[in-house]
Amino acid sequence: MRTARLLKTLTILLVACFAYSGLSSRAVNAQGGWTPYDPKAVDGTVKTDARKEGPIPAGCPFPAVKDKYVIGFAQANSAEPWRTAMNAQLNAAVDALNKQTAGKPSFTLTIADAAQDNAKQVADIENFLTQGVDLLITSPNEASPLTAAVNKAWKACVPVILLDRNITNTDYSMFIGADNVAIGKMAGQSVAKYCKDKSLKPCNVFEIDGLSGTSGAVDRRDGFAAGIKDNPDVIIKVTQNANWLREKAVEIAAPVLQANPDLHVVYAENDPMAEGAYLAAKQTGIDVKKLLFVGVDALPTPDGGIVSVLQGRLGATFVYPTGGKQAIAWAKQILVDHINPPLWVVLPFSGVFPENAQEQCNAYACPLAKAGAATMAATMIATATK
């Protein structure tokens, strides 16, 4: 009697086990259920469409439904002003999202800074994986060293969003950034126009590059070379490397400016380096009015590019959006709404020149903004990039 009852309970248990495992495995294999993204709701333009199997490798389970999501952000170098702004925008976006969802689900953002050290950033990403973050956002310090770590995270079924800097393959969920080649090209074209207007033959350019292993440096250099082709008299006379850092630019610009009194344009791949070259020029007693300083970033901060153009230090710069807001928006869509995002989203940029600097300042609320003076163009730019 007792053995019969025992056997009955055992068989019921076994059947229940098989049923449960059958059900759960079906849930695991239901990966094909990613919702396609809405093209009209994309903040920016789509350069590469979504992957068919979804933002994580085929065979990975759906991101689990939770009430608390942890997002890890591995920053390359928080000390750079543009990246400080990126961190601030990411934090602001997460706060806004939490207000919007009223805490159900809630999102926590943890930022780890690598201070331009590749090995440290690899360690940061490994720590995030050990901690078990739900989504990884990263701006790789340099492409080659970080590719293996990013791939590892992606293959471990953690969605990975790359911001601004790319890696050497496409094993990630999505890349969000502005088109650095186009920015470099617009910079080159504005330099070509400047040289033509001033009838400078030849027009000598001093190029200051960012950290050479970054996708931004490669793209802005290539774009600039293409842009100056508009004017065959423009030649890049000297190229130096300042690793995106202002203090490094001061160091390397001083001897170059002194040894080459026939320079007309200084093209630096970001604003801090352009400002550093400007400082170096002033310190060595060179007439800065004879030089055109071009940078990229145009942050609306008191020491940023827009104020610099207004105050006549920089001749041109380009508003380069950080993408922080977009990254958090897409993170929520991937984790909560299970939307399959496009692989590459391009954010728009705009030029800041002396003639439109005041408008840009008003649009981005920089310290020298004049209230009520925003024009239609400026507000359009503001809505497109914010």
Partner: protein, 366 residues
């Protein structure tokens, strides 16, 4: 023995024995304490101790290996009363050379003809780079002996020279390394040349499915070799003697100067190996890498119980020191503590380790 009888009558004899024991294994006790603290303070989501997870422990081994290899070389140098500040720059320089020789081909005019240098195999690069490291170590040691200046000065100069050479060789650029078969796609952000010998990737990789880091194995092998050399060979005994009392050692017929040069050469060669591992792990040879690694190596050696005056120190101690530093980094990272706090704690640990040495009883068991 007579001295024992005299000593045993002293009231605090037992306490001295315990203190001796404690200080001899200071670094190992420190390691045990920090392991316990790490396990206690590890995040435990869903009851799983993250610190003790297999992935985390293997990560600790992987990241500690470069500093561990540097620390072994640094221990030898510190044992003999010197110091080597150039190891970080040597790592970067060797990384640049290795990446360049692996990926690119250069036409070098030599004696009228042009020979193509580059695209070498990983083994050739390993041998050449280790020799270059030994050569740099030779320059460090020889200049200290010849000009009778402290090795602090000559290695400080070499720190600058090696970094400058690295920057000049690579023209301030990072040289990306792409390994693999020719069928793979090359990204415009990666290497601009072809592919390098895939064997080079083994240096910084893991063993198949187990995830065991090869740099960790290399560190363990090097530690065992030099631990054996220090304890059981005449060379090792001479190092301790020269470090503890250089005058007496020289007067007893041992060439202390030559011994010093050998240790600097070993340190340079080990720094080269660490540089190769670093370049392989990060797939890049860059002159901006490994900044400050010499400080990590010195910190590991000091925390391991070596005396900066020379004559005291063990390989086991320096490896323990390297692990202590890495476990600290790891547990602070897992708890998402700012990296700045890690730097401060590292500095405090070094001061603590050095201060503890002052409390060491002056007589030790022979």
């Amino acid at each position: 023995m007579a001295t024992d009888l005299i000593r045993s009558s002293a009231p605090n004899f037992n306490r001295k024995r315990w203190l001796n024991f404690l200080f001899r294994f200071q670094s190992l006790f420190g390691l045990v304490i920090i392991l316990i603290l790490a396990v206690l303070f590890s995040p435990k989501p869903n009851g799983v101790n993250l610190f003790l997870s297999q992935r985390n422990l293997l990560n600790i081994l992987m990241f500690a290996s470069e500093v561990g290899i540097l620390a072994v070389g640094m221990t030898l140098v510190i044992l003999i009363g010197g110091i080597d500040l150039s190891v970080g720059s040597v790592m970067a320089f060797i990384g640049v050379i290795a990446a360049d020789l692996l990926m690119n081909r250069h036409d070098v005019p030599v004696l009228g003809t042009i020979i193509t240098v580059g695209g070498w195999s990983a083994l050739a690069i390993l041998v050449v780079c280790t020799l270059v490291g030994a050569l740099i170590g030779f320059v460090n040691g020889w200049s200290a002996e010849r000009f009778k200046v402290p090795s602090f000065v000559t290695t400080l100069a070499m720190m600058s020279i090696a970094r400058g050479l690295a920057r000049a060789w690579s023209n301030n650029n990072s040289i990306p390394i792409a390994l693999g078969s020719s069928g793979e796609q090359l990204s415009q952000y990666g290497s601009s040349g072809g592919f390098g010998d895939p064997v080079f990737g083994l240096l910084g990789g893991t063993i198949g499915n187990t995830g065991l880091p090869i740099p960790g194995l290399i560190m363990i092998v090097i530690a065992l070799i030099f631990g054996f050399i220090l304890t059981y060979t005449a060379f090792g005994r001479r190092l301790y003697a020269a470090g503890g009392n250089p005058v007496a050692t020289r007067l007893s017929g041992i060439a202390v100067g030559r011994l010093r040069i050998y240790t600097f050469m070993i340190c340079g060669a080990l720094a080269a190996i660490a540089g190769l591992i670093h370049a392989s792990r990060l797939n890049q040879g860059s002159p901006n890498e490994s900044i400050g690694y010499e400080l990590n190596a010195i910190a590991a050696v000091v925390i391991g119980g070596a005396s900066l005056n020379g004559g005291k120190g063990t390989i086991a101690g320096c490896i323990a020191g390297a692990f202590i530093l890495q476990i600290l980094d790891n547990i602070l990272g897992l708890n998402s503590v700012s990296a700045n706090v890690q730097l401060v704690v590292k500095g405090l640990l070094v001061i603590l380790a050095v201060a503890l040495q002052q409390l060491r009883p002056s007589t030790e068991s022979a």
